[in-house]
């Protein structure tokens, strides 16, 4: 059983490709219903990680930035689940989140990956995997992952047990 004191995990990546690889592993570990929040500055690697997550999950389309339309919905061949790639860069609070239907996405069996989650923090579920990106230097990033519920802790434990650099 996951224990609360082990609910945080740090990763260091050395390049964009490395960040993508970590994302792919994360994407392969998703079982449905997870909410993954990506918190970091412009250029921190949020889209790179998402590219990996979508590839690992099996998304049919390439991942590009969803800033303009806020949401990209990805599908895969093996089932009818959806991966929502949400970018809250242009949003500023619960009313906007409601306006784009974020609540519908958060409470179904799909996976939700959210960039700029700080802008809609009031509507996020308690159980989520929060990934904070820190810039160490031009190429290296530290990704601190924190779980805050059963589902996200299970995901974190999968990563802890199986991620090989």
């Amino acid at each position: 059983m996951p224990s609360p004191e082990r609910a945080t995990l740090d990763f260091t990546t050395n390049s964009v490709t490395h960040t993508e690889r970590l994302g792919t592993f994360l994407g392969q570990s998703l079982t449905g219903g997870e909410v993954v929040c990506l918190s970091g500055d412009l250029g921190a690697g949020k889209t790179a990680l998402t590219r990996g997550i979508a590839a690992g999950w099996g998304a049919l389309e390439a991942v590009t930035s969803p800033t303009f339309t806020v949401v990209h919905e990805h599908r895969r061949t093996q089932d009818s689940f959806v991966l929502y790639h949400v970018d809250c860069y242009r949003l500023s609070g619960p009313a906007d989140a409601w306006g784009v239907g974020l609540d519908d996405m958060l409470y179904n069996d799909g996976v939700v990956v959210i960039e700029w989650p700080e802008n809609v923090s009031a509507v996020l579920p308690a159980d989520r995997l929060w990934i904070a990106f820190f810039l160490l230097d031009e190429n290296r990033r530290q990704l601190t992952m924190s779980a805050s519920g059963n589902r996200s802790q299970t995901l974190l434990e999968t990563l802890r047990g199986n991620w090989m650099e």
Partner: protein, 356 residues
């Protein structure tokens, strides 16, 4: 004479227009958020299907009033199916279905990117448009180079692998504390700047027709923000004004950034046109309003260059009506089962439809 009512609700703008024979604009009404703010006296969510719901009926009525027509005069209804925001697209598509059902009118679903291409047909021109053409579609959400062999025949030969060109403008404008939308703000700031001050990256130059603007945005951020020691923490809640280095000249940054974007857009479009033996180069979408882009494309292109009038660069219903006209004319129809396609790529019409 064929009159098409065009409806566009894929993102922020509610646009409805009446177009005659795919080329003549009888009306073109766009409710932007600015208008909505004024009209309703409150702050509107920047992107909300509710805004479309509230705007769609008055905007449609106004489009018909300006064109001096009623639904009895309309031959078909064209509506944007995608790509775009699902909730926003649904408003337009369901409204269009209601009109089609209620008045027994044919319904034609249109790709938003195709709509941008057909904004070219609404421009006043002395010479007819020539196929094959290579069209650069650049906006806040899209950056594609499309080979168009004939009406409805599209091959995407290049697209962005990360951020759209217009998005790069928006994000850099925000970094520089300029206003939204970023395109006009950067262009204005760049007027006073020296474009050679910073050598910002031109990503994927000489490597095919795909674009990448994510690294450029990061390079601008590094150039303007104070150097950080140790690890930099993520932002706290909400948006705060960006801290700029004291020696940063915003005009120089804007000019250097703008020319970096324009360089790759121009180079790759001209190369694609040469490779595919295009007769003309076309540009469409919000970023095609950029004056430096227009000027540079015309200066460097050996082929005729066309772009839409400024008012039709942004999202609007007229371009959807124009695109819908050509589908309608070729016999393509959708039925009332028409669904939205939030991630719809631009594919040739014959590949996804049969003639009705």
């Amino acid at each position: 004479m064929t009159l098409i009512l065009g409806i566009e609700t894929s993102c922020d703008e509610t646009g409805v227009a009446v177009v005659e024979n795919g080329t003549r604009l009888l009306s073109n009404v766009v409710a932007s958020q600015v208008v909505l703010h004024a009209q309703y006296g409150g702050v509107f969510p920047e992107v909300a299907s509710r805004a479309h719901v509230e705007a769609i009926v008055p905007v449609t009525q106004q489009a018909m009033d300006v064109a001096q027509v009623t639904l009895d005069d309309i031959d078909a209804i064209a509506v944007t199916r995608g790509p775009g925001l699902a909730g926003s697209l649904l408003v337009g598509v369901n409204f269009a279905k209601g009109l089609a059902l209620g008045h027994g009118l044919p319904l034609v679903g249109v790709n938003h990117l195709e709509g941008h291409v057909y904004s070219l047909w609404l421009a006043e021109t002395d010479t007819a448009l020539q196929f094959p053409a290579v069209c650069l579609i650049v906006s806040g959400g899209h950056s594609e180079i499309v080979l168009i062999r004939e009406h409805g025949d599209y091959t995407v030969v290049g697209s962005t692998i990360d951020d759209a060109a217009g998005e790069a403008f928006d994000k850099v404008a925000r970094l520089l504390n300029l206003s939204y939308p970023g395109g006009p703000a950067i262009q204005h700031a760049a007027d006073e700047g020296d474009p050679t001050t910073y050598a910002f990256p031109r990503a994927l130059r000489g490597h095919g027709y795909n674009f990448s603007f994510s690294g450029l945005k990061t390079a601008v951020m590094r150039a303007v923000q104070p150097p950080h020691q140790g690890r930099r923490a993520p932002k706290s809640e909400g948006m705060t004004p960006e801290q700029l280095r004291p020696d940063v000249n915003v005009a120089d940054v804007a000019a250097s950034f703008q020319v970096a974007v324009v360089d790759v857009l121009v180079e790759k479009t001209i190369q694609a046109a040469a490779t595919h033996n295009a007769a003309e180069i076309w540009m469409a979408g919000g970023v095609s309003a950029n004056l430096l882009l227009r000027e540079q494309m015309q200066e460097h292109s050996p082929l005729p260059v066309r772009y839409p009038p400024l008012a039709l660069c942004v999202d609007n219903g007229a371009m959807i009506a124009a695109a819908g006209f050509f589908r309608y004319q070729q016999g393509y129809r959708d039925d009332l089962a028409l669904d939205v396609r939030p991630m719809w790529p631009l594919v040739s019409i014959r590949d996804h439809m049969t003639k009705g």
